[in-house]
């Protein structure tokens, strides 16, 4: 018992560790998280896959053995005590019982025995003495057998479905875990599992219209290939949505071919399909190589879009001047569900498709981008959004290009070309100079003009950060703030003059100029990628299936049933023994005993005694 408790404590502690350290991540993540030193120490204890660790399994085995021993040791005793009555009490010793009563009724011992029997007791027959022995609630003791046997059965069921057999094969060297990234057909035989394998939990990722008869079993940082007794083809994957846009259901239409026979089945989350002891679950989905049609828009040049066709998981070359780049398209999401503020309430909304891609230069460095197709509402305005990040750990920083009144990008396109037209810039600066009443003589006017042109040019070439740098280098510290403010005003004023046509034609919403200036300035941080407009697409899904073969499950369920029954018996059935002796005519002494003392028990005894009195 002590041993069992010690083992149980270890299981509990190991389990806790397993919930604190996220299990079965790629090993690289652990290396980053813990550093070289601890990574290897933790690895040697299998802390990344604790529940599959050999030492953990050994402890579980010990528990099974110790509980089995406990059951086998106790069961004969218990069975005996269920069959046997404890007799042999001396009438005198009854008095020593905690629950001892004496009553006086005009009844025979036999009549009392009848009454006791009517209350669910079994009476020991053919006793020679005038001692009446009775008991009830033997189920309580059976409860012990039920629960503890249940634990053994559950553990064995669980071990059956674990990968013990593979571990054995691995230890004698007949199987090895594959860690290289190989095609299924190239995986060596030693890392393949027969289709008659006893139990497994394998995953299979199928693109739409793809077919396969092998699945993947993940083990630690590697995998094994599991042969299946049938072919599975994904005909179509679909997502059903609620009216708010949130996903309601993920479904895969499958065709399963076995021995030339075809079975068509649709599975979804919570609705798996079973065949030949293998159950197929909907467990995951991702992009399966959607086709996309894009326009690339350079953010600084005159917006001559280049159009390209591509596909997710494909790469496209891109030349810009002397530089070679590659687009690597990683993901396409048709639905992006966000909580959007609407008034002062949060509303769930689908904001439409997005593309995730990397933009890699010829020395191999890459930036990651996520670009949304549709303009996204923010405080009654709409923006084309594209996020960029340097590495996977950091958050996306978004470039927000304001949409015009037609929700198109044309407004911004015109804006960017307007603010660069040399003649108009000069005219605007003249206009600005004219309006500045504080400039009196010709020289100060000329100075102002030159200065303004310079500032504006800096903005065109490097955005607000260029202005900030210019101020830092040229303006005394105590005036920087005021000067900065006036520069920003100047830039705004000129841009507004330059975009009169847009404003007059009512093409752009309020605040557009300000938002567009911000977007223009932010473009300098956006990185080398052109802005990407998604024109149209054909969504192709890949569905992640899980294939489970778990012959131990039935034992686990059976054990669970016994466990519940057993606990119920043990806790809610009270074993009671009682003795009655006729002390003299119509005078009886009654003693009760139970292996548990509850308050209820005392009350029960008093109740029963009162019944006997009647």
């Amino acid at each position: 018992m002590k041993f069992a408790i010690a083992m149980l404590s270890i299981v509990a502690i190991a389990s806790i560790i397993g919930t604190v350290i996220k299990q079965s991540e790629p090993y690289n993540n652990y290396l980053i998280q813990f550093g070289q030193f601890w990574f290897h120490i933790f690895e040697s204890f299998d802390l990344y896959n604790i529940y599959q660790a050999s030492w953990f399994l050994v402890i579980l085995l010990f528990l099974v053995v110790s509980t089995s021993l406990c059951v086998s040791r106790n069961t004969p005793k218990i069975l005996k005590s269920i069959v046997n009555f404890q007799g042999g009490l001396q009438p005198e010793s009854l008095k020593k019982f905690k629950n001892y009563h004496e009553i006086e009724v005009k009844k025979s011992l036999a009549a009392i025995a009848k009454k006791i029997e009517a209350n669910g007791f079994k009476i020991k027959k053919n006793t020679k003495s005038d001692l009446l022995i009775a008991k009830k609630g033997s189920l309580q003791k059976l409860g012990y057998i039920f629960t503890h046997l249940a634990i053994v059965v559950i553990s064995i069921g669980g071990l059956l479905d674990g990968n013990m057999f593979f571990k054995f094969q691995q230890s004698i060297g007949s199987k090895v875990v594959e860690t290289r990234n190989l095609k299924f057909s190239e995986v060596p035989l030693k890392s393949q599992l027969d289709k008659n394998n006893f139990s497994y939990r394998a995953t299979l990722l199928l693109n739409e219209t793809e077919q396969n008869n092998k699945a993947l079993v993940r083990i630690k940082d590697g995998y094994l290939v599991q042969h299946l007794p049938f072919d599975i083809k994904l005909d179509k994957f679909h997502i059903e949505h609620y009216s708010t846009g949130q996903p309601k259901s993920f479904l895969s239409d499958l065709t399963i071919t076995k021995d030339g026979k075809k079975y068509q089945e649709t599975i979804s989350v919570n609705k798996p399909f079973s065949m030949d002891g293998i159950t197929i679950y909907q467990s995951d989905f991702q992009d399966g190589g959607s086709k996309i049609n894009l326009s690339l828009i350079s953010l600084f040049d005159q917006f001559k879009p280049i159009s390209i066709q591509s596909q997710i998981f494909k790469q496209n070359e891109y030349k810009e001047g002397k530089n070679d780049y590659v687009f690597e398209f990683d993901d396409f999401r048709e639905f992006n569900i966000f909580q959007i503020e609407d008034g002062n309430k949060l509303k769930t909304k689908n904001i439409g498709p997005s593309v995730v891609y990397k933009f890699r230069n010829n020395s191999g460095q890459a930036l990651e981008y996520q670009t949304y197709q549709n303009p996204i509402p923010q405080n009654d305005k709409f923006f084309f959004m594209s996020g960029m990040r340097q590495d996977l750990q950091s958050e996306f920083r978004f470039l927000r290009i304001p949409a015009d009144n037609d929700l198109s990008m044309d407004g911004y396109k015109n804006f960017v070309s307007n603010i660069r037209i040399k003649d108009n810039i000069n005219k605007s600066v003249d206009e600005l100079t004219k309006r500045s009443s504080s400039l009196v003589n010709a020289e100060s006017k000329e100075n102002f003009k030159n200065n303004t042109k310079e500032i504006y040019q800096i903005f065109l070439e490097s955005g607000y950060s260029g202005i900030a740098k210019y101020i830092e280098d040229n303006v005394p510290e105590d005036q920087q703030e005021i000067i900065a403010e006036s520069y920003i005003k100047i830039i705004y004023f000129i841009s507004e003059l330059l975009n009169q046509d847009l404003m007059n034609a009512n093409l752009i919403p309020q605040d557009f100029i300000q938002d567009a200036l911000n977007a223009y300035s932010d473009s300098f941080f956006y990185g080398p990628s052109p802005f990407l407009m998604l024109n149209d697409y054909e969504k192709i899904y890949a569905s992640g299936l899980q294939l489970t073969k778990d012959p131990g499950k039935i034992w686990v369920y059976l054990g669970s049933l016994f466990l519940v029954l057993g606990i119920f018996c043990m806790i809610y059935v009270q074993e009671i023994r009682l003795w009655v002796i006729e002390k003299s005519k119509n005078k009886f002494a009654i003693a009760f005993a139970s292996n548990r003392d509850h308050i209820d028990f005392e009350n029960y005894c008093i109740d029963l005694v009162n019944k006997l009195k009647k």
Partner: protein, 364 residues
């Protein structure tokens, strides 16, 4: 007599109505749950009389509310009674109003030993329980008014299960109070209920958590209807035993010596609530495994929530062993059950807060 009759009639007619009118919304399992649930409630009513009154009050309140709604969700802004009393949000707010009042009255009872405030406290708790359960019932109905495919039983996110926790804990306590006459423990049990109430209020006002959201695909299963309630009977019962343990420990340090029940009674109640909790928690964990086998492709995946359920289970199994096998009593078990509450709380909320896993609902 009238109560018995209306109790049975209302249960039978609710079950019949469900089977007859809402057949299209249920699969066979759900019909089974409905029928068995009805039988279970009838049994519970005859096992414990107060339950009948609570049940009938809930039926009356939610029936009235549904009548006033008249299948129009906008009615909750237009109708005075719905707006302030009978919409699910208001009913749950009334629950969060009466539980603190009940706590104060129990406290008065303990300090002044004033029988009147004791009775008031019990009634406040009953009012809170009735409005809370009615709130959940109406919320269930409202979810279908949002859209038929959004409709679902309101035990699907952290907000809803916290309400459920308050109600079940309250219900179990009221039962023990009536049976063992232990009003002086009320203040302790109400302490933990009000901690949950505080959380509900914070969650409602700072996170807008009370809005009804549609179910994610993983939760769309009849299993939820039995797995979650049995889990919360477990959590509720464990919490009660921990709060009794707190009273027990305080008493042994000399506090509330006069008002608290005898050690023997408190030990017994601690045992009883752990026992009932243990049964339901075992069932809940098993049902969880069966559900996981259907939804995730394996009955046991060592997901953090599963693992912590196992730890909670082992902890109380050890507690029961100590009491039943070793015959242990007293302070050790009391402390143990108090520590058990920390473990249980972590399994209930901590896992959602700090660990990620397949049980992804209810993040903060």
């Amino acid at each position: 007599m009238i109560i018995n009759l209306s109790f049975i009639i209302s249960i039978v007619s609710i079950v019949a109505l469900g089977l007859y009118r809402f057949t299209a919304f249920m699969d066979y399992y759900e019909m089974g749950i409905l029928v068995l649930g009805g039988i279970g409630f009838i049994w519970l009513g005859f096992f414990w009389h107060t339950f009948k009154k609570i049940f009938l009050s809930v039926v009356a309140l939610s029936g009235l509310s549904i009548f006033l709604f008249n299948d129009d969700l906008q009615a909750q802004n237009a109708d005075f009674f719905l707006k302030y009393f009978l919409s699910s949000q208001s009913l749950i707010m009334w629950m969060t109003f009466f539980f603190p009042l009940s706590l104060l009255s129990y406290l008065t009872f303990n300090i002044k030993n004033n029988q009147f405030s004791g009775n008031v406290a019990t009634n406040f708790s009953l009012i809170a329980i009735v409005s809370g359960f009615s709130g959940l019932m109406v919320r269930w109905y409202e979810s279908y008014l949002i859209s038929v495919d959004v409709g679902h039983i309101p035990i699907s996110n952290l907000y809803e299960v916290f309400v459920l926790f308050c109600l079940i804990t309250g219900l179990i306590y009221i039962y023990y109070e009536g049976k063992a006459n232990v009003k002086s423990l009320g203040v302790f049990v109400l302490l933990i209920i009000n901690a949950a109430v505080a959380f509900i209020l914070w969650y409602t006002f700072s996170k807008n958590a009370d809005s009804i959201q549609p179910l994610v695909p993983a939760l769309q299963s009849y299993w939820m209807k039995i797995h979650v309630p049995s889990n919360f009977i477990g959590y509720g019962a464990f919490s009660i035993s921990a709060m009794i343990a707190l009273a027990y420990i305080l008493k042994n340090y000399g506090f509330f010596k006069k008002s608290l029940p005898s050690n023997h009674v408190m030990e017994d109640l601690m045992y009883k609530s752990i026992a009932i909790g243990f049964i339901f928690f075992t069932i809940a964990t098993i049902l969880g495994a069966v559900w996981a086998a259907e939804a995730w492709g394996g009955y046991w995946s060592w997901d953090p929530k599963e693992t912590w359920a196992l730890i909670v289970w082992l902890n109380y199994a050890a507690w029961l062993h100590l009491r039943l096998v070793k015959g242990l009593r007293g302070n050790v078990l009391a402390w143990w059950s108090l520590v058990g509450l920390i473990i249980t709380t972590f399994a209930f909320v901590g896992v959602n807060l700090f660990l990620s896993g397949l049980h992804s609902y209810g993040e903060l």
